[in-house]
């Protein structure tokens, strides 16, 4: 009896000891797995230094009641940019390749190259930016989207409509991306106060790529912004752009005309967002140009005071679906010149172009978007261009960060 009890006790003890052993073995294994996990997580991959690469694919299927090849904005000098509505029928949009990375602790670099449907490669942005200046300062150099206005620094694929608002088309050729430098400073306040200045060559409209040693483009911009309530955020800004075009030429009614003088552009912009649901945005542009207009090589005095604005609202009415409306308008203002309207019909026709645009887009994820856009475009005097387009925007690779 005693023996049996002793046996049982011995067995239990042995079992307990074994259980203890097993437990500590498990603990040991656990520790080793954790170790291994930590080490494998820390192990750098051979391509760890590769920059972030993302690729945007875009395309449209479009129809328009007027020929996009004769597109012009009555009353405004052609901006030379890619501002016409998309080609009729199927067409590839710009495919954009963005490569970015920190260079070292002091700089980062970014390239945005666009492969045009005409099989050309365009450098949209290629810049370095400082990381370590501190005190709220950053300096950017190279080619970059200018910080003026609200929409200008935003890449085209991130716009809420397929094309740029009319004032951007008329005054900036779609958007301004000059070669130059930018200095920006953010004030040490809780309300965002940002000031910036740029100097550039003036390589594109409203500049004329002058062959000179000094800067052909200057800009100043300032933004203030903050929160409004628990879900609202806003930003407002004022920008100034000065260029000195020399022989900025275009042909109207078969005659070559060119402007030399000073071009000054003011932009006031404001944007308000309510969570991810609602976005209101508007900008007002005012341009003055003073100088001489050579008409078939004969110079004459020229000055203009012109303006334009747009306002748009985009609303997410259910997950993945957004709808938007945009109204844009240009005011011909006053244009004084020695020429008559028959001589220079494009510049001197007193006409205020307007446009109404609606869109609906569907974004299954933040990497894909399909958009339907309808517009009634009265950019050209006497004609209404009814446009409809279907657009896709796909984003591959690194997750891009979108500015506010």
């Amino acid at each position: 009896m005693h023996r049996m009890l002793a046996c049982a006790m011995a067995l239990t003890m042995a079992a307990a000891a074994q259980a203890q052993d097993a437990k500590s073995e498990i603990e040991e294994l656990k520790r080793r797995v954790e170790d291994l996990e930590a080490r494998s997580a820390a192990k750098p991959a051979t391509n760890a230094f590769n920059p972030d690469i993302s690729l945007i694919l875009q395309g449209t299927a479009a129809r328009s009641s007027q020929n996009p090849n004769d597109y012009q904005i009555t009353g405004f000098a052609p901006s030379g940019g890619d501002v016409a509505p998309p080609r009729r029928g199927f067409s590839l949009g710009e495919s954009e390749l963005v490569i970015s990375s920190n260079i070292d602790p002091y700089f980062r670099g970014q390239l945005a190259a666009s492969l045009t449907p005409e099989n050309e490669l365009e450098v949209e942005e290629a810049f370095f930016q400082t990381l370590a200046l501190g005190k709220g300062f950053t300096i950017k150099g190279g080619r970059f989207l200018s910080g003026i206005g609200y929409q200008n620094p935003i890449h085209q694929h991130a716009w809420d409509f397929q094309d740029a608002p009319l004032p951007y088309k008329a005054f900036l050729g779609g958007r301004l991306n000059d070669d130059g430098v930018q200095a920006k400073w953010i004030a040490p306040t809780d309300l965002l106060l940002e000031l910036g200045a740029e100097a550039g060559r003036g390589r594109q409209f409203p500049g004329s790529d002058p062959n000179k040693n000094s800067a052909g483009m200057w800009s100043l911009f300032g933004h203030v912004g903050g929160d409004a309530g628990s879900g609202g955020a806003w930003r407002a800004g004022l920008s100034y752009l000065k260029t000195s075009p020399e022989d900025r030429a275009f042909t109207d009614a078969g005659v070559l005309q060119s402007f030399t003088g000073a071009s000054k552009l003011w932009i006031a912009d404001a944007v308000f967002k309510w969570n991810a649901d609602l976005k209101l945005q508007g900008e007002y542009f005012r341009r003055t140009e003073d100088g001489s207009l050579a008409y078939a090589a004969t110079p004459g005095a020229y000055s203009s005071r012109q303006s334009g604005w747009y306002a748009q609202a985009v609303y997410q009415f259910m997950p993945r679906w957004r709808a938007g409306y945009r109204y844009d308008r240009l005011d011909h203002g006053t244009v004084s010149s020695d020429l008559t309207q028959t001589q220079a019909p494009l510049l001197l026709t007193d006409y205020n172009p307007t446009r109404n645009t609606v869109m609906v887009d569907w974004s299954p994820t933040e990497f894909s978007r399909i958009r339907l856009q309808l517009a009634q475009d009265k950019s050209r005097i006497g004609v209404t261009d009814n446009q409809a387009l279907l657009q896709y925007i796909f984003s591959l690779g690194a997750h891009g960060a979108h500015t506010f």
Binding site: G136, G225, D227, S230, F367, H399
Partner: protein, 295 residues
């Protein structure tokens, strides 16, 4: 005289406090626990906002400009906005690799690390599941790493941070033991979750995830997927549909109604419910709400 001196010194002290920008409420709360009155904490988002969908809004840019320390989860959770704050705010302190940028994910080992990544799998995070704060052991790990970081940045106050971390650690481990005890009966409980943001909680309490409302991480619940899930629940029923405070309530209610099980709203982070006023409240309330449906 003494009060006059104190009055004069008060603004100086306020000036000397460390400015902290916390990406998510859990890290804002932890920074307050460890930093006490030596830190000014601003939290970028509330518990009602989806941490995946945040924009680098103007107020965040301004706060990032002035931050001595930016505390984020990391593991690419904030990939859509934190890089912008770092590159555009003109603040050298909060760049990657600087002491002023702290990632909670660097202090813990993440679960659900995919062996391969492809966007066809949805919004997957290559480094693993970033919603790491719902396991109290991770909070303890992050707390000790964060206290070290605070001490490194603000050397003069190092003993203060270390003392607070020690005190917090003791309270936390005591509370964790209580939670484990309270939640013992939750072991094995099958629940349907909305997103993979509760995985650490499920893992810690050894509950069972019976499905997710999202067909793939980051994709909104579709009717087809919900119907399929409902069918699956007939075979192996779940106890509840659990969602986080910031999730859309409708899909959870749709499924719960048809599967005849309750829905549970968890605070997910500090501020998600009335009781979740700090990290302790977050866990107290989370466990209480799960236990309420267990009955």
């Amino acid at each position: 005289m003494k009060t006059l001196l104190l009055l004069l010194l008060a603004p100086l002290q306020a000036y000397a406090a460390l400015n902290i920008l916390a990406c998510e409420p859990e890290w804002g709360s932890l920074a307050k626990e460890l930093g006490g009155d030596k830190v000014n904490v601003y939290t970028a988002i509330t518990a009602m906002q989806d941490p995946h969908r945040v924009e680098a809004r103007p107020s965040l840019m301004a706060r990032a400009r002035n931050a001595d320390l930016l505390i984020c989860t990391g593991a690419q959770l904030e990939i859509g906005w934190v890089p912008l704050l770092q590159t555009q705010s003109g603040n050298a302190k909060i760049q990657n690799g600087q002491p002023g940028y702290f990632e909670a994910a660097s202090a813990v080992s993440l679960i659900e690390r995919p062996s391969s990544v492809d966007r066809s799998q949805g919004d997957v995070h290559p480094a693993g599941n970033p919603h790491l704060h719902l396991d109290p052991r991770n909070i303890a790990r992050v707390a000790s790493a964060l206290a070290q970081r605070l001490a490194a940045i603000d050397g003069a106050q190092a003993p203060y941070y270390q003392a607070r971390e020690k005190e917090f650690g003791q309270r936390w481990s005591k509370a964790s033991a209580t939670w484990m005890q309270q939640a013992a009966s939750l072991k094995g409980m099958p629940i349907v979750v909305y997103h993979k943001d509760l995985s650490y909680l499920v893992n810690w309490l050894a509950m069972r995830e019976a499905g997710t409302l999202e067909p793939k991480p980051g994709l909104p619940p579709s009717t087809a997927h919900l119907a399929e899930l409902l069918e699956r629940l007939k075979g192996s029923p779940a106890k509840a549909v659990v969602r986080s405070a910031y999730n859309d309530p409708r899909p959870a209610e749709w499924l719960a109604e048809r599967a005849k099980i309750p829905t549970v709203v968890l605070p997910y982070t500090v501020g998600g419910t009335e009781r979740a006023t700090d990290l302790f409240g977050l866990y107290d309330d989370t466990i209480a709400r799960l236990l309420a449906v267990k009955q």
